[in-house]
Amino acid sequence: MLEAKGLMVFYENMLALNNIDIKCEAGQIVGVFGANSAGKSTLMYTLSGIMQDIKKKEEMSGGERITVMGEVKYQNETITDLKPSQRARKGIVLCPERRRIFSESSVLENLKIGAYLATRSQAKYTLEYVFKLFPALEKLKKRIGGFLSGGEQQMLAIGRALMAQPKVLLLDEPLLGLSPLMQATLILATREIRDEMNISIIITEQYARPVMPIVDYAFILENGSAVMEGTKEELMDNRDIRAAYFGVEESYT
């Protein structure tokens, strides 16, 4: 469904993504794991087209020179040069790192702004669905976005992204800085979104363990390169991966 081939991204001379091939089939949840600065967010920005905007702004202000090579394909159509808004229209919606909710608008208004691409009936239906998925949000719907807790903000960010009627949802570090309880809630919700709305999901995270149970396929990034990929079972069987990303220490015998 969504696919990147030979993706290379340079910030000046620094290689941020090195020849990445990544693929997400319809109805899959694909995990991308890696430490800080492994290139997870760069990958998400490149897939969603935000990199185009970052690049343009940097060029205009005489900042960093960003080079993007390779190809991004969506439903067998090349979308490498499309603007983020055009990609969103096609169904690729990014729920960004650090949530970036509209902090001066209420919860309900955040969701309404998210419904920019939705028809009236879609917006109504999705709003009900979001409140069913995250009942906590319904109670907070008049609350100003900036006054929400981290977990509430993340629920709102996912809900807002759903309002844009995605077919592929890109979740960039949705669990960042949240309690284990909230992490579990969000992971369950992520699986529900896939199962009930039939949305494909690419999810990135530093620590793979909480996310691993729901992914179908996963990639491990290190310094911009995909060092390992495979199904859940294949990765779980690898001892090094277990030690590095699942926090399971084993003695070598």
Binding site: S48, G49, I50, D53, K57, M60, S61, K83, P84, S85, Q86, A88, R89, V93, L94, C95, P96, R98, R100, I101, F102, S103, E104, S105, E109, K112, I113, G114, A115, Y116, L117, G146, F147, L148, S149, G150, Q153, R160, A161, M163, A164, L176, G177
Partner: protein, 288 residues
């Protein structure tokens, strides 16, 4: 009482000057230094429709507003879009356009005190013993209506909500499918139309003179800085603050101090609270 009535009128007038500027800045972070020029231009467009083409007054006004909105959108689409994000260039480019429009008008013969627009309703009434003409009452009425409509527009329509999203976090808005350039053009069009609306309401109170373009720009900037750049409601509040301060100085000091008040307000705000009353610099701390 006199101070209260004329202070309110003056404040609403200031708010009308500033709303267009605040809207453009709020949505696209673009200080539109051609705002004053668009104000004067729309005055002359209305005058031309009315006197050269002999159209009905109301139709001339509506056409002039549309024309000004279109001119604003075109200015953005063909010039400002290329310097977007470079603050100094944005100011220089928009100010140059403003200069070109104003001096072009002067060069084209629109100068002197001969150009006036008629009042919608002539005559005057008395409120608590103070004579007030109907045009000024109309300014207050329409001004309040515009603020109300703008509030509804940005909260209950799809485009309005998208503009609000853009104003708060441009990139987050893009992720949701909102086209930032399209929204910036829209905001510029609306902002210019607001300038035109202010012009047709307020110009009948005096002459259409090219020089007022510069004053309007300074007043609009003063209001927006005091209110906090990018905050529309802050601008309305600041308009009342400066509006009453101006009337008070007129009553107690003399009428040529009016402009000083606006400039002093800019300087004081920048020294004491650079983000203004409702500035966005004091954004809530990010929660991690």
């Amino acid at each position: 009482m006199e101070i209260l009535i004329y202070g309110t009128i003056n404040s609403v007038a200031l708010a009308l000057y500033a709303l267009g500027f605040a809207m453009v800045y709020g949505v696209s972070r673009l200080p539109n230094f051609a705002h004053g020029a668009l104000y004067v231009l729309s005055g002359f467009i209305t005058w031309s429709f009315l006197n050269s083409l002999g159209l009905n007054y109301l139709i001339s006004i509506l056409l002039a507003m549309l024309a000004t909105g279109l001119i604003g959108a075109l200015i953005y689409q063909f010039v400002l879009i290329r310097v977007r994000g470079m603050e100094i260039s944005e100011i220089m480019a928009s100010y140059a356009i403003g200069l070109a429009i104003l001096e072009g008008l002067r060069w084209g013969g629109f100068k002197g005190m001969t150009y006036t627009l008629p009042a919608f309703i002539s005559g005057s009434t008395e409120i608590a013993g103070i004579p007030v003409d109907y045009q000024r009452l109309l300014v207050v009425g329409i001004g309040i209506a515009v603020v109300g409509l703008l509030w509804l527009f940005t909260r209950y329509t799809r485009i309005g909500l998208a503009l609000r999203g853009m104003a708060q976090d441009e990139r987050a808005a893009m992720m949701l499918g909102i086209d930032s350039d399209l929204m910036a053009v829209t905001a510029m069009g609306f902002g210019s139309m607001l300038a035109a609306l202010a012009a047709v309401l307020l110009l009948p109170l005096g002459n259409i003179v090219v020089e007022s373009g510069y004053n309007i720009l300074i007043l609009a900037i003063a209001v927006c800085i005091v209110g906090g750049l990018g905050s529309w409601m802050g601008a309305v509040l600041a308009a009342f603050l400066i509006g009453f301060a101006q009337i008070l100085t007129v009553v107690y000091l003399g009428s040529h101090f009016q402009m000083v008040v606006a400039l002093a307000a800019i300087i004081l705000t920048l020294i004491i609270k650079p983000s203004g009353l409702f500035g966005r610099q004091k954004e809530l701390e990010e929660r991690v």
